[in-house]
């Protein structure tokens, strides 16, 4: 396992400062999520870490080693788009890419066989890549990224545009890599619920890190639980809410009340229990965190 340290990273594209002096560390075995709106600087940061960009300020070190070849030999990258060759078979694609990491032909084949078993693509290994389904393609792309047996796996929006079943498969795979293989994982995603599975979440906007924390820390600070109530009598509930000083939003026949804590939720339910026909408590989620954090900055 390996740790990544980013120190005072800045990257400028002519007049645009894409990354503005960011620093963060990913501990060995951590599952680290990098969130941000489009143009926030996520992809630029990922490209710098993956050694696709070299003209930047600051430092990127893996286990205190900043050598490009060392870093490249220790990372695997799953890109947002499929990058394998459509006209080559799965096997050809992976063996040609694998040969860029493993020089010995016997070891190369052994690694290919391991990945074939692990990611279950034996059934379509001789099929041309372009004929595969979206899910099968993703599986092969993950195999490509894992060929070097990386210690840091970078996932750049790996589930964007995938159907729910394929997303579930990708996530099972990611979780297995983290738990059973102990990989350090850096993820960028647009799906906030995916970020809530991570150990640490960083939100970046306009090239700067805005917040960092565990999902529960961020949810505690930036999201709110809500109670949805369907009353027996709307007028009576509205009157009671005003008397309690609770603000609410009405959506069709539901009243939505924002609460700050679990204790407050219990108190409100108890106070209104005779007026409630149905109720539901909705926990604050990473969507709230993202919208509140980015909203605060934009305000």
């Amino acid at each position: 396992m390996i740790s990544l340290d980013i120190l005072h990273l800045s990257k400028r594209y002519k007049d645009i400062l894409a990354i503005n002096d960011i620093s963060f560390s990913i501990n060995k075995g951590d599952f680290y999520a990098f969130l941000g709106p489009n143009g926030a600087g996520k992809s630029t940061t990922i490209k710098i870490i993956a050694k696709l960009l070299s003209d930047y300020e600051g430092s990127v070190t893996l286990d205190n080693n900043s050598n490009d070849d060392f870093i490249r030999s220790k990372i695997g990258v799953v890109f947002q788009d499929n990058v394998l060759d459509g006209l080559l078979t799965v096997k050809e694609n992976l063996l040609y890419r694998g040969a860029l990491y493993i020089k010995d032909k016997k070891k190369l084949i052994e690694r290919y066989e391991e990945l074939k078993e692990y990611l279950h693509f034996a059934d379509f290994e001789n099929q041309k890549f372009k004929t595969l389904s979206g899910g099968q393609k993703r599986r092969v792309e993950i195999a490509r990224a894992l060929f070097s047996n990386p210690e840091l796996l970078i996932l750049d929006e790996p589930t964007t545009g995938l159907d729910p079943e394929t997303r579930r498969f990708v996530w099972e795979c990611i979780n297995d890599l983290k738990i059973n293989k102990g990989l350090t994982i850096l993820l960028t995603t647009h799906y906030m619920e995916e970020a809530s599975n991570c150990d640490v979440v960083t939100i970046i906007n306009k090239g700067q890190i805005i917040v960092t924390g565990t999902p529960s820390e961020l949810k505690h600070k930036y999201s709110f639980d809500r109670i949805k109530i369907v009353p027996f009598e709307e007028n009576e509930l509205e009157k009671a809410l005003k008397e309690l000083g609770l603000s609410f939003k009405k959506v069709v026949d539901e009243y939505i009340i924002v609460v700050n804590s679990t204790q407050e939720t219990i108190t409100v339910i108890k106070q209104l229990e005779l007026l409630i026909k149905q109720f539901e408590v909705i926990k604050g989620n990473m969507d709230d965190v993202f919208l509140n954090v980015i909203g605060e900055i934009n305000d």
Binding site: A50, L52, D55, R72, D85, L87, R97
Partner: protein, 292 residues
């Protein structure tokens, strides 16, 4: 070395599996062969019949003069077709997936060169050998073994020059669509400009000046000259002014450079130097691209 070979093989397969891409790489050659068998061949045959009565010899002359041009066109249209892999890789991020691996940057560039060189050379030599057999069986005239070998070597030099020029173009053109369009037409354009479709003698002086700036013109003159040496030696009583006239018509007389009387060997050395310069420029451009 394993990584370089793997990447070169990958580039070769990516090109060869694209049937339409391969077809369009041969488009200029197909156009040329169509024009020849439709009417150019008859025109040439009619002209040769002034000097020669043997129909087989007439065909030997016509085919040799045409195939000299076709082989040159082949080196450039195939080279541009295979170079398209480089442009596509840049556009669909496949290049990024290579750059995140530990392979040395120069090997990525070298693999593109080697794949272009390999496919272009193998297929061009194959075309030359088919030509030898076709000419031999249809005319009963056979090229000498030494000429066959000399042309195999000359084609290697021409492939290197074409590869250097086309890979250079691939490094400066960013769009796949633009490069695809270039690949489809470049053979035809060069075919006209370099006197491959029709002899430069029938075109104006201005065109001749422009043609003299294109390396493929001199390459064609040289190759046609080699291929026609043996057929012309069989033509009786051809010497002096008549021979010069025939050589002009066949497009194998040196046209110099911009009206200056420069020997053909010097012009060919110039082509090699240009190829070397463009090769260096491509490596420099690729290095900049790969180290953004």
């Amino acid at each position: 070395m394993t990584d370089l070979i793997a990447l070169t093989k990958r580039n070769i397969k990516v090109f060869l599996r694209d049937k339409m891409g391969v077809f369009f790489s041969f488009l200029s050659v197909i156009i040329m062969l169509f024009l020849y068998f439709a009417f150019l061949g008859k025109t040439y045959s009619a002209s040769f019949s002034e000097y020669v009565s043997d129909k087989n010899l007439i065909n030997f002359l016509s085919l040799s003069q045409m195939m000299g041009g076709v082989l040159v066109i082949n080196t450039l249209s195939l080279a541009v077709g295979v170079s398209g892999t480089l442009v596509n890789d840049q556009n669909n991020n496949a290049l990024d997936s290579l750059l995140v691996t530990p392979i040395k940057r120069y090997k990525i560039t070298l693999a593109y060169y080697l794949s272009v060189l390999f496919i272009t050379y193998v297929l061009t030599v194959l075309m030359w050998l088919i030509t030898v057999l076709y000419v031999g069986f249809t005319t009963t005239y056979w090229y000498s073994f030494s000429l066959i070998i000399i042309i195999v070597l000359v084609l290697l030099l021409f492939t290197i020059i074409s590869t250097a020029i086309m890979v250079f173009l691939a490094t400066i053109i960013k769009s796949s669509a633009a490069f695809g369009a270039l690949a489809s037409i470049i053979g035809t354009v060069i075919g006209f400009m370099s006197g491959i479709y029709m002899p430069l003698v029938v075109l104006g002086q201005g065109t001749k000046y422009v043609a003299s700036c294109v390396p493929f013109t001199h390459m064609t003159i040289f190759l046609k000259g080699l291929m026609l040496k043996e057929p012309l030696s069989y033509v009786p009583f051809l010497s002096g002014e008549a021979l010069k006239e025939v050589r002009d018509y066949l497009g194998i007389n040196n046209i110099g450079f911009l009206g200056l009387n420069v020997p053909l060997w010097a012009l060919l050395i110039g082509c090699c130097l240009l190829a070397f310069g463009l090769g260096i420029a491509s490596v420099y451009i690729m290095k900049r691209k790969l180290n953004k």
